[in-house]
Amino acid sequence: MSTFVIGLSISMLLFLLAAGLTLIFGMLRIINFAHGALYMFGAYLAYQVSASSGSFWLALLVAPLGMALIGALTERWLLRPIYSMPHEFQLLITFGMILVIEEMVHVFWGLNGRNIATPVALAGGVEWLGTTFAKYRLFVIVLGAAMIVLLLLGIERSRLGLIVRACSVNPTMAASLGVKVNTVRTAVFAAGAALAGLAGAVAGPMLPIQLQMGTTIILDCFIVVILGGLGNIRGAVLGALLIGMTRAYGQQWLPEWIDILTYSVLIATLLLRPQGLFSKKERLA
């Protein structure tokens, strides 16, 4: 039972990251390689804020905002000039970002791992049906679930979501109807980056904060996003649940084989249903 909760909390963390990745892909058709680096940067920033101010909640607010700012600047000054060039070049920019962000973190915080203390309100566990659940993990699950609802409502039901989808489907038409497509693009990229920052802050008390944390988790996120179908938020939810649970239960039963199994499932998916397991038709944003 506690494995289930651990799996669920990993799933939600993966979802936060995958949602940002898939949001950016749906809108900009860019695979943001720097997403893992943003997540790592967000975690360090959260560490710094919580260590200086003593408040985890402030860190939970500052990290996403910081990453949103970086995301917005990146989109405006690095990606926008090269939208007209072949697609690879945009990938390459985000690839270069990894190097720069990792180095910045290295300069500011060095190579030692860090840790965020679990906030007092969420320390300890809750006992239920004879099992103890870590409160923090439950908090992560609730937060993740809230973000799922928020994102789905925001994109599929709100006016804002409508505009975002319009810009993605037909930017020219959206522009001629008076939508500032460029601003929307910047905002979406910033939102995706903010989700990475949020995931970083959330991961802080749960996982060790270190330079490699981005690269280790981003491959899992790629898997989630491919399983769910690129650009598909609902698919990302299911993909994250699948991978998170596999990770948690696999860790318990077959730790040696788990990576090989996940990659095999993924490769099979790419071959049989390259559009993703959970996409009925092309969904956008």
């Binding site: 695979i31 690095l78 000039p81 090269i82 060039m85 697609h87 690879e88 070049f89 990938l91 390459l92 920019i93 690839f95 270069g96 970002m97 990894i98 190097l99 720069v100 990792e102 180095e103 910045m104 290295h106 300069v107 491959l219 790629f222 898997i223 491919i226 690129l230 040696e256 990576d259 090989i260 990659y263 095999s264 993924l266 490769i267 790419l270 071959l271 390259p274």
Partner: protein
């Protein structure tokens, strides 16, 4: 037609490929000259390193710049080439030359297998597939095949060739072997590009629909491109292992696939000169920056980003454009 013949002769423009090849050969002569005149062990090592990586980048560019296949998984062909040669030489006591052939075969076969697995997916999905398959290879080698790969520690003591009592363990001598293979690969790739097969590869990048309408089998062409590109990458992997006398699963890391992509693009993809310039620039810059700062990787990232935005055709684009007039 007669009108154009009467016009005052415009400065003759050479075919880009010709200028490209001439420059590349000049560069090879320059490398040889430096190795011959500056008899310094460190310089010889540096030159070998540049040439080995250049072979890798040229092999990578066969898939990327020529056939238009964006791969994030070339570390797998490179690393498996290195391991193939290592196993052939250390486990079976085969000579160096056979080790190189085994390496090329390993790299080529892996490339073909990847292309076979991904024959139904194209574009971005194929790129992601190459990344994932390479990661799978890396993980399998690190965990399940620890005995074969040497685990995290890797395998040390990879031999260099022995021939007529020449001491190839001295970098000053080994560099000539690398130079020989370097020139051979350049000429081979230059010939390949002009051959009908090479032209078809170019078509794969420029207009696959039209290629198919002309009756060519796209799947088979992609298979061939990945195979040849993988073989060249495998060869360079074996050379690197032999140069460093060490092989480890680090050679399979996805960072390596990223490095070769960066070098190729920085230099200019789709040419012979580009990958070489990119590699030389990367390695020399690394050497220079490392002397001043530990954070050279970050500086490299900035240079890479700026280069991508302002110099999309790479260093070779700048050089070749200027010198195209004969």
């Amino acid at each position: 037609m007669t009108e154009t013949a009467d016009k005052p002769a415009a400065p003759r423009r050479l075919a880009l490929a010709t200028v490209d090849l001439r420059f590349t050969m000049a560069l090879a002569v320059l490398f040889g000259g430096v190795a011959f005149t500056v008899r310094d062990d460190g310089i010889a090592y540096m030159l070998s390193l540049i040439m080995v990586w250049a072979i890798f980048a040229i092999g990578y560019d066969l898939a990327f710049g020529t056939a238009g296949i964006l791969s994030f998984g070339h570390a797998a062909y490179f690393g498996l080439g290195a391991y193939g040669a290592t196993w052939a030489m250390l486990r079976f006591g085969l000579p160096f030359s056979v080790g190189l052939v085994v390496a090329a075969a390993f790299g080529g076969l892996t490339g073909i297998v990847v292309a076979l697995i991904g024959r139904r997916v194209t574009g971005l999905y194929f790129s992601l597939l190459t990344l994932m398959l390479a990661e799978l290879v890396s993980i399998v080698m690190l965990t399940r095949l620890r005995d074969l790969s040497g685990g995290v520690d890797g395998i040390a003591g990879i031999p260099r060739p022995s021939f007529m009592a020449i001491d190839f363990f001295a970098n000053g001598n080994f560099v000539w072997i690398v130079l020989g293979l370097f020139v051979a690969v350049i000429l081979g790739v230059a010939v390949l590009r002009r051959s009908p097969l090479g032209q078809a590869f170019q078509g794969l990048r420029q207009n696959p629909v039209r290629l198919e309408q002309l009756g060519l089998n796209l799947g088979r062409l992609r298979l061939a491109a990945m195979g040849i590109s993988g073989a060249v990458s495998g060869l360079s992997g074996a050379l690197l292992a032999s140069l460093m006398m060490y092989a480890s699963p680090q050679l399979l890391s996805w960072k390596l696939s990223g490095d070769v992509l960066i070098m190729t693009l920085l230099g200019g993809s789709g040419t012979l000169l580009g990958p070489i310039l990119g590699v030389a620039f990367f390695e020399v810059l690394k050497e220079v920056l490392a002397a001043y700062t530990d954070h050279w990787y970050g500086v490299l990232g900035v240079i890479f980003i700026v280069g991508t935005i302002f110099m999309p055709k790479g260093l070779a684009g700048v050089v070749l454009r200027r010198w195209r007039r004969a």
